[in-house]
Subunit: 346 residues, 4 copies
Amino acid sequence: MTESGEKNPGIEAQRAKMSFLFREDVAPGLRLEMDLNKILFTSESEFQQIDVVETFFGKTLVTDGKTQSSQMDEFAYHESLVHPSMLRSALSGTPPKTVFIGGGGELATAREVLRHKSIERCVMVDIDGKVIEVCKKFLAEWGGETVTSDKRFELVVGDAHKWMMETQETFDVIIMDISDPIEAGPGIMLYTKEFYEHALTRLNPNGVFVTQSGTADAVPAKHQGAGETDTSCYGPINNTLRTVFDCVVPYSTNIPSFGGDWGFIMAFQAPAGCEDKALVEKEWKFPASTDVIDNLVEQQIEGGADKLGLYDGVSHMSMFALTKALRNLLKNDTRVMTRDNPVFMY
Amino acid sequence: MTESGEKNPGIEAQRAKMSFLFREDVAPGLRLEMDLNKILFTSESEFQQIDVVETFFGKTLVTDGKTQSSQMDEFAYHESLVHPSMLRSALSGTPPKTVFIGGGGELATAREVLRHKSIERCVMVDIDGKVIEVCKKFLAEWGGETVTSDKRFELVVGDAHKWMMETQETFDVIIMDISDPIEAGPGIMLYTKEFYEHALTRLNPNGVFVTQSGTADAVPAKHQGAGETDTSCYGPINNTLRTVFDCVVPYSTNIPSFGGDWGFIMAFQAPAGCEDKALVEKEWKFPASTDVIDNLVEQQIEGGADKLGLYDGVSHMSMFALTKALRNLLKNDTRVMTRDNPVFMY
Amino acid sequence: MTESGEKNPGIEAQRAKMSFLFREDVAPGLRLEMDLNKILFTSESEFQQIDVVETFFGKTLVTDGKTQSSQMDEFAYHESLVHPSMLRSALSGTPPKTVFIGGGGELATAREVLRHKSIERCVMVDIDGKVIEVCKKFLAEWGGETVTSDKRFELVVGDAHKWMMETQETFDVIIMDISDPIEAGPGIMLYTKEFYEHALTRLNPNGVFVTQSGTADAVPAKHQGAGETDTSCYGPINNTLRTVFDCVVPYSTNIPSFGGDWGFIMAFQAPAGCEDKALVEKEWKFPASTDVIDNLVEQQIEGGADKLGLYDGVSHMSMFALTKALRNLLKNDTRVMTRDNPVFMY
Amino acid sequence: MTESGEKNPGIEAQRAKMSFLFREDVAPGLRLEMDLNKILFTSESEFQQIDVVETFFGKTLVTDGKTQSSQMDEFAYHESLVHPSMLRSALSGTPPKTVFIGGGGELATAREVLRHKSIERCVMVDIDGKVIEVCKKFLAEWGGETVTSDKRFELVVGDAHKWMMETQETFDVIIMDISDPIEAGPGIMLYTKEFYEHALTRLNPNGVFVTQSGTADAVPAKHQGAGETDTSCYGPINNTLRTVFDCVVPYSTNIPSFGGDWGFIMAFQAPAGCEDKALVEKEWKFPASTDVIDNLVEQQIEGGADKLGLYDGVSHMSMFALTKALRNLLKNDTRVMTRDNPVFMY
């Protein structure tokens, strides 16, 4: 049967009653559900289910049912992942020339890296060539051809872990833009103490390592009682990096399409002879003035502050000043991730 | 961020955690929610929102958020709507030659009509030309080109109510394949006593009128207390037809993609001089043998019983034998639909 | 924060935006979602999660997340399960005196059995004493104290399979009111050829066996290609009973709170010397007149037809006349359930 | 039917398939859905629907379908609302003695106020006495009897707007803990320029006004094009306060049970003769050292820092340093709320 008549005045009320929806678990027992306007692409690669959809948050890449990044706030995720480490490196007196990206198939991480005037080489290793193709085609705003045709950029379709174990190259900044360590997932090795130890050997002096670190929502009750049932990996990654690096600085940014605050952790070595590593961390987190960061942005970024939507001196403080609730949550977490004792996120 | 690693062994578990979904209200407080694989088409016509999707039930036409018919069981809906009335007409001694279809944009109602060897003319009036185009393109199995290129078939894109009021033509069978009478909807006039009175004048002797009639789930508690809160239109259509026709026979078929049992009502005049109209109804509902129907199918349908997926002699009994619960529900409903006192379905 | 002000005129619109919900899978990829008004009871027994809730369908017993029966249509389920077999037994010349119920914890199956004037003994074996207590307390309308205090009724809290294997007793009617055979479930043995063979030895001459049989929605596409992926158990139970009994008669009833049509199958031996078992089945399914059933109801049921909400002569035809689509589905299913080769429902 | 057998080993898988759920709109087209364990209380007051449930976030008060506060993070909401203003007042040289709370029915806002050693009087005006009773009974941890029996606390059940218009009293801090300005809601007057002008007259010298301000998720695309379609009220409240107060300072905190970052805005007058109001704001937002705040906490709060779960010097920076994305969003919003031109939130 079909409708027969004039334009339905109650069409919006009707639309409200139905829905095409995208629903995603953000924690066991908590889901984000949003209107789904279009399914632009759906297929399986050798490695995962790949969907490109248009939702409440605009165009969105979804792999294996997890939002990877969305049009409305991908800038916030990718700027948060890239710029603090790049500028930290610059602040150390070494404007970064070489960057390794593990994962990063959307190309937006590379896009942000390539904004830095000092960059000479950016190599990205992602195992799923199909994701890259799909992003170039459907999510060109994320970087696309502009990134892949940049002469400073080298794309390797392959296993990031294997590539890192085999390379002799070293980098100023290493950026891990990979999926969370889930039980079923293959990326688990890239979150272990063993990998971080190796990554440190692939960093130049004054080099900086950074990884996305899953949800940073301060939900303390989830942590009461049992690490087993804790489903975030923010604490474990923080602890594991601390077994390897002198300075480890967790930070976070609100990414609405991820369902709340998202965690990142950067790690680097203290200057030779430094005795107060905590002070080094603190001076980075809370510089004497927000101008320190604003000036670095102006120096390093092609086009200056106008090119960035999220990051500047004040945002830096917002990102690095974790709330007491989140700090307590990290403090109370003692889990360390090793090859033999991985910690799985939900 | 994107996945980096080997084929995810837990991909199905992950898929289970997420979902692209289609959710539809079937009653106030009751919804059907199903996996949504693809959105094949989405647009608005002059009259309504039109979506073609692929769900649990296969390809599905959705207008203004309501499932119109789906690949898995459209045959059940369209055979139920068409064949009983056509065969009733044949049984009366007049194998039907002319049929009017109000609505029917998917073309599947016409497809079933055209299976009848006796058909010489089938005119279909649907207001939304875009629905027809979309169905021809995306739902060719419903009928498509095969129907529209049939010389016996005439398509009128226009207002079915207006067309019927203006035509001088009369028909052996009139089939109303239109949306439920919802408050916002324009089809409300096609469910009134006034329209039925006029339709009777457009029927040939021995002619049969049939209309889809909304949900026929026997949910008696919804009916306790107040007609106001009753959201089905099965009872009101039944009552309204009874104010006009001698014989009114409600029947139902299970249509899973509609969320349960679906109602249809056929109506016709008793033979001249007939004094026991209830007996006429009963003899039609429960023929002496299922062979009566099976033989009619064999005579009337090009290709015979093999061409039908739902309807035969035994199915006829299943359809016309309403449960006591449903009969009670109809019996207790006293609402009649007139131009001035329409009854709105949910 | 809390509201501060006058009665909110848009409260219903607001309510519509939120929801307490009960969502249940009815098939892989299809869910029923309904408003949840109250959670009356929630706990775990030794065997399963037990919830009593109030939803769109009224008060409802839910075990392990599956609706067992609901206030609005439990009468339809329990009358369908009980009366056809009881009356078949009566029609054979033996008004049933003794009945065994496997499962049946809600007590409503026993309630329907005890309506039959001829009943002298009804023994019910359900493993979960807590379900029975909960039903007595929260679902008294289902039977409750009235059933358990009836002198003809004996309650055994124990394993129905074990009890049947050990008893020397025989019965006029055996009614299996147990959960569907799901992979995780323990009831699987009660759906095997081996159990049916034993059950036959526990039936008196002219005895009738009946079991609930899961969904009977005619969804043929689910069956295309692979029995493996078929998630209904209606066909397998039908086939399995046919390896044991002379006459096997599947029937179905629309149970909205179960999400559509529900299957039942009754089985019995043909009269000694009978050569046309199909005819015996047919004569039962489609009696010469609906009066046959109506008269049996009047004779057998204390209080007569007024006491029943679903079952009578016309409903009998509705239930036993399966649509062609459903008959084809059963015909194409060849699976048989044995101890070594069980078939799991979703 | 009921289960019959041994403890179901797949019970958790089964539980995963079903769900009791609480679903709440957080924006038009975006919903938070969470497991619902219990409905502890459900009723309607004279003013609104009141539910107390137990969800993923623990015990939660829900009114008219909107989460008011939940066990897991109510401390973050109430500390954010109360302490910055109280300490600002103390920093101005006037440890606050008198506080007015508009709304606040959960009593947790008063709980935080009463932690301040300098408090002599806290008057709270909430229109819905039933909410207060329900919170005392079911959410005693929020404050309950401890608050209502505190001699410094006065409870007025009545209209906060009316009370403020009629009182002659003035306060050191005015805290507005009321629902968002939704179209249907009565609290709309409490968000207008006219109310803020009056509130300023009810503040003592050095007094501070603060109001919760709805979602502070930086979702810029919602703001592209049209203020009309913008559904947040953070910008409008900010703009409106600026038409009245010298200094207006928006801040935000991550409140997972509200679905992301939540906005608050405090407002106060600059010191007499001050020419650079922006500098006054900046010095408050980013004090020379986090010790400034930590010392104030230690001085003012009974029991010191140990009593607070969220607020301290570093959290202060996290809260007052808004990201560039959120600052841009506020900057681009020009809406002002007046009695004649209110702005409605979703």
